[in-house]
Amino acid sequence: MTGIAIDKVSMVFTLPGGGEVHALNDVSFDIKEGELVSVLGPSGCGKTTLLNIVAGFLAPTSGEVRLNHHTVTGPGSERGMVFQQGALFEWLTVEQNVAFGPNMAGKPRAETHEKVEHLLNIVGLKDFGEKPVYQLSGGMQQRVALARCLANEPDVILMDEPLGALDALTREKMQGLVLKLWKETGKTIILITHSVEEALFLGEKLIVMAPRPGRIEKIYELPFADQGMTKSPRDIKAGADFVEKREEILSMIWEMEEEIMGQTG
């Protein structure tokens, strides 16, 4: 069982000049094995902080995150991470980037090579293994990042706005790829995003967060990710349910933003 329990997690940052920022306030939810959970919210709602706590890069002020009943205390290879951009190693080729995890673990080269070839095939970068990563487009680089993460065979994949820096068309294609990889590998995925559409389309469960202090506003259970394999993405996104949910969440986030403006203004 590779479930994740996020248990009463609070995070308070103390600012250098005094003063405190309540990035997260008493956040609790569970993620079942193989579930794809998307986390959405306006900037400053603590969604990236939450992901960094799950990844083990930050220790929460109170509460804890448990993975298979073990408390998370630091980063580990069972939790793979896909970053927005710029987290690839530009001194390595595509193949060397993907092979990074297995190579660090000292896995046999031949086995790793085979696995890397296979993964590059899946993400559509079959003939790009020898290329330096900086010669690739933004979308291709994110495919490499996905493959690099998968090559390490993590139980959980944490995605921090992985498609955030891509143009709209590439982004849509990549959403299809993420969905496909999730279905094929059955990994547990937490996806942080600021795109309502992306959160709805990919998440089985969607957590909407509110800022100041960062907290859970609402949790949705969604059918769209399941439909994603049979229906075309465009049809799903144009469907009445989808549009209705999208508008509902958009206005919710819009209100949050207004509230922030009101507080500061």
């Binding site: 290879s77 987290a87 990074f100 660090m104 690099r148």
Partner: protein, 288 residues
């Protein structure tokens, strides 16, 4: 509408006419890429200066004490190449200077890179060395010459030690800033891919710092080349710097001028080699 006459290839190469792309621009003043090579004027000025030199030599306009004649300089070059300067061949003078620079930079890098890494990675090392590095950084290496002569005399150790110091602080600062420039997401990515601290040092922090280390090496080479010549002016019996200083004492203006030209050429060649090496060894520079 009247057909405009296309300028010839030669005119474009010479910079007398703009290329097609620039000609399409309506805003040129303030757009640096619209300024062409102006090669014609480069050729003009170089030829002009040479002509002026030839003319003044022919007419004896300038005393040889101030500036050598063309013929005298050519004779002197031949003499220097065939017989050397004061029983030491020209190659030895040049060779010893280059050797001092390379040794100094190498020693500076061998100590400075680990030191910079330590300062970038550990609070203790940073606390210990920061005052020393920050204090030494603005001091021109030449200001250390008197002290180094007092300590080491004027033998080879003194010069190499001076160059070592000149490159040490440049290399330390370059390596430290290379370490600090690593994007935290790369380090995080490596940790979540299961890398150990040593593996992160070797496979993430080191390659990430290489471009800045190399820039440090290039700067050190330049500074050390300048420093070695100056140090040789003060105290040495061999080396390009000493050659022009001794020549001055014998009022051999032509040797002085030739020495200066050699210094310029070698400095330029070092820079070119370093740039070439950089492109070859660190093709990812600036692409992160």
């Amino acid at each position: 509408m009247a057909e405009k006459k296309e300028p010839s290839e030669a005119a474009i190469w010479l910079g007398l006419a703009d290329n097609t792309f620039t000609r399409q621009k309506t805003v040129k003043f303030g757009d640096a890429s619209a300024v062409n090579s102006g090669r014609f004027y480069s050729i003009l000025i170089v030829c002009g200066l040479i002509m002026l030199w030839v003319l003044s030599s022919r007419l004896g306009l300038v005393k040889e004490f101030y500036w050598p004649t063309v013929g005298g300089t050519i004779d002197r070059v031949i003499l220097l190449v065939t017989e050397g300067f004061r029983n030491i061949s020209l190659w030895e003078h040049v060779g010893i200077s280059v050797f001092r620079v390379l040794t100094g930079v190498l020693c500076g890098a061998l100590v400075g890179i680990p030191l910079g890494f330590a300062m970038g990675l550990s609070s203790t090392a940073r606390g210990l060395f920061d005052p020393i590095v920050e204090f030494m950084r603005p001091i021109p290496p030449l200001a250390l010459i008197p002290l180094i002569i007092l300590w080491f005399g004027i033998d080879e150790t003194a010069k190499i030690f001076l160059l070592f110091l000149a490159s040490l602080f440049i290399m330390t600062i370059a390596a430290r800033s290379g370490v600090s420039s690593v994007r935290i997401s790369k380090v995080h990515a490596a940790y979540s891919l299961g890398a150990s601290k040593m593996q992160i040092l070797r496979h993430v922090i080191l390659p990430n710092a290489l471009p800045e280390i190399f820039t440090g090496l290039r700067t050190s080479m330049g500074v050390c080349w300048g420093t070695v010549v100056a140090a040789e002016l003060v105290a040495a019996d061999r080396g390009v710097g000493s050659m022009i200083m001794i020549a001055k004492n014998f009022l051999q203006t032509d040797t002085v001028v030739i020495g200066i030209i050699i210094i310029g050429i070698i400095g330029y060649v070092i820079e070119i080699i370093m740039r070439y090496l950089e492109r070859w060894l660190i093709p990812w520079k600036g692409k992160g």
